[in-house]
């Protein structure tokens, strides 16, 4: 039975245990490192983004019409000799399947891999009813024998080593198994399971598609067990979530183009089986298969009408959101979901398996956007995860004190900035060399793994006028959106920007009523506060007044650009302003290279060796990947590529306070990778990442310097 802690303390204990599991850490890291290349290879010549848009569109057309599609499917399937059932709940589905078994005097059942059957805990139900149920997918069989749930939707036993499997198979067969003979162990499964296929009276499968047009189901498999399950026994039951209904073959083929490529980096899975109707079966009395299809609702039809969560039903179960998740990579699927794992698991658990199972795991998201970028159905996973978090708080009627504080303080810019200024004095006794252990008001929790910066003596807003003299006949009028960290912790990064742009005719302005971008509120599930803050900023920074709005903080930039639209949607005329704002937001590197067109002659040559960390909200949030690397080269620095450049540094705002052990591990790996390049400086373009990375090197006494890209580029700029 799967146990998912609902208590955050217990959950964190499990996470710590997982971090201590060396096999898991290595195996998942190897997988995560190999996956992007094999995926890219599989998609060679295919425009992934266009395909994902197509799939999302096809799914969005099907989702509001599931009942209609179900009706059409049923008509066609019944005509072809299938009995179609509709189960409103998991219990109903399990009962129906048990009844089918009973009606057909079934004793033994073989099963193909089905996440939907995992969702309903079908096996234990049937076993309680006295049936022998054997999983026949190798990974599923292994975890069934161990009494576990899957730790990945496609690779259910990825958490186990060859030694674990050898030990298990030795027990099952009574013969000693050699852990290094994987081929031999696979042949053991072949032999043992072949017997089960021959003895079984009933086969249960899932399906990847249910095509209404023709009443056809499609199964995507690699091992071939799905074919045997649907061929040898005299009864076949397919358990299918209603979300798998698609109108036509065209939609199914579209999904099939993405599914194996995104799941395992295969152009196609070994077998794709299209079954229409009850086919020949010589072991059945009639000579024809007894075929049943059980469609499962379990909340899906209601979800299909939910304005926000309906998009979760677009999921095609490829598992890619786990493959790329930096947290999944550290702790594995048993600690990153309930039955459904990965980002989609954090969302679906609440709906399919309830609040108790969802409440702890749903907090465990960095908002690094890796899942969103790789999703073949363009599900906005990070947003949905935050929406579930909000729902958990609402349903429970209580939220962390931190949320209540943030809500009060952030909504009032004057109060917020007043508290930040006061915090500078409060921290005084602890400050040493610009670092402190705790930054009052802003952060809490275990931060021992990194040093935290002291607040700046003078915030940016207070020295702005001195730093930013008027420019005669300016060519560009540009607003700087600072964000809390630039304004109150790292004003020197803004100073560097101003220096670099000197002589290029840029008149900067710092709209004084700007406040926190609101992302921390969004991250903590405080949508109302995020909205209030967004409105304040839209009032403070009128996009019509500027040619560009530049940010030095990738997180602020991507929040302003992507999330503000949803936050003020339907609010006339702010919705217009927000669209204008979106078009003018630019990150530092893009501004310097694309707008100002700086060239190598603007810079000194022979600069330091630098490594680069790509902030999540820059490379994925804003989709900016070339410009910063190009700028490093233009400015005469020697840029050396490091491993996992685009993997999160572990900051994630309040995430690092909630899950310091995970944050620390991501940070450790990031710094190891950077140090391995031999670079003197680790450059990034987000003050949040600077805080995390600089605090990390400081703490471990590392030799590498951490700088914002504006700072290193400024040092290279020739004086004019």
């Amino acid at each position: 039975m799967i146990k998912t802690p609902s208590d955050i303390k217990e959950y964190r204990k499990n996470l710590k245990n997982a971090l201590g599991n060396q096999f898991l850490g290595t195996t998942l890291d190897t997988f995560a490192s190999a996956y992007p290349a094999s995926r890219e290879n599989a998609f060679a010549g295919i425009d992934f983004d266009a395909l994902a848009c197509d799939i999302a569109k096809a799914k969005d057309e099907a989702i509001p019409n599931l009942e209609k599609l179900l009706g059409e499917f049923t008509t066609k399937a019944v005509r072809a000799g299938v009995t179609v059932h509709f189960a409103r709940t998991a219990f109903e589905a399990n009962s129906m399947i048990a009844q089918i078994a009973k009606d057909n005097q079934v004793k033994r059942i073989v099963k193909g891999k089905s996440m939907t059957a995992e969702e309903t805990f079908l096996n234990s139900f049937l076993e309680r009813e006295g049936y022998e149920v054997t999983e026949t997918d190798l990974g599923e069989w292994i975890i069934q024998l161990r009494g576990e749930g899957p730790s990945h939707m496609v690779l259910p036993a990825i958490h186990l080593s060859r030694r674990d499997v050898a030990e298990l198979f030795t027990k099952v067969t009574g013969e000693q198994q050699d852990p290094d003979d994987i081929n031999g162990m696979v042949k053991v499964a072949r032999r043992e399971l072949r017997q089960k296929f021959l003895e079984a009276d009933m086969g249960i499968s899932g399906a990847n598609f249910a095509i209404s047009q023709t009443g056809t189901i499609g199964l995507v498999t690699n091992e071939g067990n799905g074919r045997l399950v649907t061929t040898l026994p005299r009864v076949h039951v397919a358990l299918i979530g209603v979300d798998k209904l698609v109108p036509d073959l065209k939609s199914a083929l579209k999904i099939l183009t993405a599914l194996p490529r995104n799941a395992t980096g295969q152009a196609i899975s070994t077998y794709v089986t299209w079954i229409t109707g009850a086919t020949e079966c010589k072991s059945a009395e009639s000579g024809r298969k007894q075929m049943h299809i059980v469609f499962l609702d379990n909340g899906r039809l209601a979800l299909s009408k939910d304005p926000l969560f309906a998009q979760a039903l677009r999921c095609i179960r490829c598992g890619a959101c786990a493959n790329v998740c930096p947290i999944y990579k550290l702790v594995g699927g048993h600690n990153y979901g309930h039955v459904y794992i990965g980002a989609i698991g954090l969302v679906m658990t609440y709906f399919y398996h309830g609040l108790e199972n969802a409440r702890a795991i749903v907090k465990n998201c960095l908002n690094c956007q890796a899942c969103k970028k790789v999703c073949p159905a363009r599900i906005n996973l990070p947003d949905l995860i935050k929406a579930v978090l909000r729902t958990v708080y609402q349903v429970e009627g209580k939220k962390p004190i931190r949320n209540i504080m943030l809500q009060k303080v952030l909504a009032d810019r004057r109060l917020f900035h007043f508290m930040l200024r006061r915090a500078r004095f409060a921290q005084k006794p602890f400050a040493e060399e610009g670092y402190i252990r705790h930054l009052p008001m802003l952060f809490s929790g275990e931060h021992g793994f990194r040093s935290l910066p002291a607040l700046a003596k003078v915030p940016l807003r207070d020295m702005w006028e001195r730093l930013n003299p008027p420019v005669e006949n300016p060519k560009y009028r540009v607003a700087l959106f600072g964000g809390c960290l630039i304004d109150f912790v790292y004003p020197e990064q803004a100073e560097a920007l101003l220096r670099i742009c000197r002589g290029y005719g840029v008149q900067f302005e710092y709209p004084m009523d700007q406040t926190c971008c609101g992302l921390p509120a969004q991250m903590m599930g405080e949508k109302e506060t995020a909205r209030e803050v967004a409105i304040q900023n839209l009032k403070a920074v009128d996009p019509a007044r500027y040619d560009y709005i530049v940010t030095l903080c990738a997180s602020c930039g991507s929040h302003l650009k992507e999330n503000y639209i949803a936050l003020v949607a339907g609010d006339s005329p702010l919705a217009v302003k927000v669209a204008q704002l979106k078009d003018k937001i630019l990150d530092f590197s893009s501004f310097v290279t694309r707008v100002l067109g700086m060239v190598p002659e603007d810079f000194k040559s022979a600069g330091q060796k630098v490594a680069y960390h790509a902030p999540c909200h820059l490379c994925r949030g804003l989709g900016v990947t070339r410009e910063p690397r190009k700028l490093l080269e233009i400015s005469g620095l020697e840029y050396i590529k490091s491993k996992d450049e685009e993997v999160c540094c572990g900051f994630g705002g309040s995430f690092s306070a909630d899950f310091p052990e995970l944050s620390a591990e991501l940070l450790r790996r990031k710094l190891n990778n950077a140090e391995a390049t031999g670079a003197e400086v680790l450059v990034t373009d987000c003050p949040g990442c600077v805080l995390q990375l600089r605090g990390g090197t400081k703490k471990r006494g590392g030799q590498i310097n951490v700088k914002h890209i504006a700072e290193v580029v400024c040092d290279q700029r020739k004086r004019i």
Binding site: T27, T30, F31, R79, A80, G81, D137, L138, G139, I142, L155, P156, A157, I158, L160, S161, R162, V165, I182, N183, V186, K187, R190, L193, R194, L198, Q213, T214, G215, T216, N222, E223, G224, N225, R227, L228, T231, L249, K250, L253, L256, T264, A267, I268, S269, T270, Y271, V272, T273, W274, I275, T276, G277, A278, T279, E280, C281, K282, S283, R288
Partner: protein
């Protein structure tokens, strides 16, 4: 995309999944190939449920070489099938996929429970991608009941430590013999 480009693409994609694609000129060559591979693997039988053309020659060849030829009621011979010899309706070049109409139970057993699967693919039936078969497939589904299989390589798993292992449930090898249609 036309022949021979589609065949080239199919061959290239097939090598990625260890499918062996060969061009043969006659039914005689098909039979020699099957005999050769069955002997090489020390097999004892050939299952060929849908092989009409050349069936007499195949029967004679099997008899001469001491191989059992299985053509029907394969359920009674499960675990005794060395080589499965079947037709493929189409080939999809992009993914090196065979499209096999598997509505007959015997044909399914021949392709699922043999050690080596040899499929004969008419040269003119290779299409660049699955989309090109959409209309044909719909027509087949509409003539239900229908069991249509896409087969792209031998049965595989990576469920133990992600190590690719061949032949977990189904055939351990897949061979495709591309033949001029008028030889069929």
């Amino acid at each position: 995309m036309e022949y021979p480009k589609v065949l080239e693409l199919m061959k290239q994609r097939a090598s990625a999944v260890r499918t062996v694609v060969s061009e043969v000129r006659s039914m005689r060559e098909v039979l020699d190939y099957v005999l050769d591979i069955t002997r090489k693997q020390e097999g004892s039988s050939v299952a060929a449920p849908d092989f009409c053309r050349g069936s007499a020659a195949l029967a004679a060849l099997c008899e001469k070489n001491g191989l059992a030829l299985l053509t029907e009621n394969l359920r009674d011979h499960i675990s005794k099938i060395s080589t499965g010899l079947t037709m493929a309706r189409w080939g999809i070049a992009e993914t090196a996929t065979l499209v096999v109409d598997s509505t007959s139970e015997d044909l399914r057993i021949a392709t699922m429970l043999c050690e080596t699967h040899v499929a004969v693919l008419p040269k003119s039936n290779i299409v660049p991608d699955a989309t090109a078969l959409q209309e044909e497939m719909i027509r087949m589904f509409e003539a239900a009941p229908r069991y249509l299989a896409f087969i792209s390589g031998a049965s595989r798993t990576a469920d133990i430590e992600r190590v690719l292992t061949i032949g977990v449930h189904g055939p351990q090898e897949l061979h495709v013999l591309v033949l001029e249609a008028d030889e069929l």
